[in-house]
């Protein structure tokens, strides 16, 4: 038997990030404790290299490894998001890690391995690849959530995420096994509505993989009613990791969802559109309404990230509806790709603004007190004017205020929903954005209008890597908010080639 040739250039970004992860782990053993910051430098250099190689294979449009891995610009677009989010996580972590005595080497190594898992998911063209990528991502995060070993909350968060995560991946895998049973292949191109096997042939059975896989993915994007792990895990985990996992796994799951549901489950569109509509409405309402009642910033941002998954699902539903639209194949294809483009742009925006907001939360923390309750933000504008200003911009962007990147994302999502006739979703989305405005603006009011209670700590806008991360994310939020054309064109280009 002949082994097919292996094209390593197709997975260079993944290979580089994985090798740098191992390098960090090895160097960690030999380096002196006071020089641990150089590990962050190694990780950053590795991520820059991965960024460059991603750009190198940007234009390729093929599959590699016997069709297991798709090498297309759609995958590269998401890899860019993962590399950015990993780099920002590396930047925001050192302060928190040194305050809480967390070992830098193992932490960075797990962040990098988790990034590899997400990159594999984005470029997966086969159920096996999706599963491996998903588990690599999930197992790294189970470990990182429990990194504060002496803190019972962190251990509990880790355990909770582990149990529900393995439950979700068991459901996903069971769905995948039926997929294989119906089609006889695990390739994403293999799914057809009329099963040509004598093993399974009924209407219900062909929907079984769809339902089970949807539940599995819904856990990963934290859609209501599969969100129950989210607030607890986000609150208990170390804050930089919370930032990372509120972005990475969610983006990765959306990357897989768009590829699988548009290309593979194209014949089952009416079924999954119904499911996602329901999930989207529940997620938007629950996430936003419960976020209003939160006193802890970390929990509030956890619920707000649930709500954002709801907005993103609107885009997925619109893409599904578009493919069924009457009025010409060309038109429905345009609407479908526009809807998916809106999701990709929103994900890009969400990455910057969410990581930035969490970076601010980290920059306020102290060793004895995480200082993440709403009251700790009172009078922040006087103590740290720059941080307060940047936080305001980031919160406005999360809210979807015109002139920020968040607005561009929301605008295209709602536009897609309206042109494809999903008015209910658009109305619920806009109404819930108003509710969201309440709890985002409340933080701004606390920062600018309220006097702090109790003794005031003398502090200023200290220059640190966390501060760099805040500045960078805010700059991108504003830059792409004013001139989003570049990202939009990029997303449109990749999506058209993926759907073609």
């Amino acid at each position: 038997m002949q082994i097919p040739p292996i094209d390593f250039t197709a997975v260079y970004p993944e290979v580089i990030v994985a090798l740098v992860g191992l390098l960090v782990l090895a160097v960690d053993i030999f380096i002196k404790p006071q020089r641990k910051t150089s590990l962050s430098a190694i990780a950053l250099v590795g991520l820059v290299l991965a960024f460059l190689t991603t750009m190198l294979i940007w234009d390729r449009n093929e599959t590699a490894f016997s069709g297991m891995v798709a090498v297309d610009s759609y995958a590269q677009f998401f890899k860019l998001i993962f590399i950015f989010s990993a780099a920002l996580t590396v930047l925001i972590s050192p302060r928190y890690l040194s305050l809480n005595n967390i070992s830098v080497g193992e932490y960075l190594e797990l962040v990098l391995f988790c990034t590899v898992g997400m990159m594999v998911m984005a470029s997966a063209n086969d159920l096996v690849t999706i599963y491996i990528g998903l588990e690599l991502m999930a197992i790294s995060i189970y470990l990182m959530a429990g990194f504060q070993r002496d803190n019972p909350r962190s251990c509990e968060a880790s355990m909770k995420y582990f149990l529900l995560g393995s439950f979700a991946s068991a459901l996903l895998l069971y769905g995948m096994s039926f997929f294989y049973g119906i089609t006889g292949t695990t390739s994403l191109q293999g799914f057809t509505l009329s099963p040509n096997s004598n093993i399974i042939d009924s209407e219900v059975m062909t929907r079984l993989p769809l339902v089970l896989m949807t539940v599995g993915f819904a856990f990963k994007i934290a859609a209501v009613p599969f969100h129950m792990w989210t607030p607890d895990v986000y609150e208990g985990a170390p804050t930089p990791l919370t930032a990372f996992m509120s972005v990475g796994p969610k983006v990765a799951a959306f990357a897989v969802i768009m590829r699988v549901y548009m290309k593979t489950f194209g014949a089952l569109v009416p079924d999954w559109v119904q499911m996602f509509t329901l999930l989207s409405i529940l997620t938007m309402i629950y996430g936003n309404v419960v976020a209003v009642a939160q006193k802890s910033m970390k929990r509030m941002l956890a619920y707000s990230s649930i709500a954002h998954a709801g907005y993103l699902l609107i885009g997925i539903v619109s893409a599904g509806t578009a493919t069924e639209m009457t009025g010409g194949k060309a038109m429905s294809a345009t609407f479908a790709s526009e809807s998916m483009m809106s999701v990709m742009v929103y994900l890009f925006a969400y990455m910057f603004m969410n990581l930035g907001t969490f970076a601010v939360v980290i920059s306020l923390g102290r060793a004895d007190n995480p200082r993440d309750s709403l009251a700790d933000y009172a009078g922040l504008a006087k103590r740290r004017p720059l941080t307060a200003l940047l936080m305001t911009i980031l919160l406005l962007s999360l809210m979807g205020f015109p002139g920020t990147f968040g607005f561009i994302g929301k605008f295209y999502i709602f536009k897609a929903a309206i042109v494809t006739g999903n008015l209910t979703l658009a109305v619920v989305g806009v109404l819930m954005s108003v509710v969201a405005a309440f709890y985002y603006v409340r933080v701004v009011l606390y920062m600018y209008m309220r006097e702090p209670e109790g003794e005031v700590l003398a502090e200023g806008d200290a220059i640190s890597s966390t501060m760099y991360a805040i500045v960078v994310t805010t700059m991108f939020t504003l830059l792409f908010g004013v001139a989003p054309g570049f990202i939009i064109d990029m997303a449109r280009y990749t999506i058209e080639r993926m759907l073609a």
């Binding site: 491996i132 588990e135 470990l143 909350r153 509990e156 895998l173 995948m176 294989y180 006889g184 607890d232």
Partner: protein
């Protein structure tokens, strides 16, 4: 020799046992075992279908799943040890720190 549909019945029973066990029991070890049972029911499906279709993809997938499940078990038990040292119990009902 059993047919694929008979294997499917067996795997559904295993899956149902795992599902019910996970949702009803509050002992972390038992919950963990139930999740493993669900993974194995999927494995059984994959292998049965693999024989039926006459291609080895399902068996390969099952091998991957077994490897991943082993890694997951190692991580899960490590986290359980961590929690046990802090709490001296393996019951999920005693988790009060986070609101739930």
């Amino acid at each position: 020799m059993a047919t694929a549909s008979e294997y499917m019945v067996l795997s559904s029973v295993l899956f149902a046992v795992g599902f019910v066990g996970f949702t009803l029991r509050r002992n972390i070890l038992v919950m963990f075992m139930s999740a493993e049972l669900m993974l194995n029911s999927a494995n059984l499906n994959l292998i049965a279908y693999s024989t039926e279709w006459g291609n080895p993809t399902g068996q390969t997938f099952a091998l991957f799943v077994i490897a991943v499940a082993a890694a997951e078990a190692a991580v899960g038990l490590a986290i359980l040890m961590l929690l046990f040292r802090a709490r001296a119990t393996v019951s999920a009902a005693d988790w009060r720190r986070l609101k739930g």
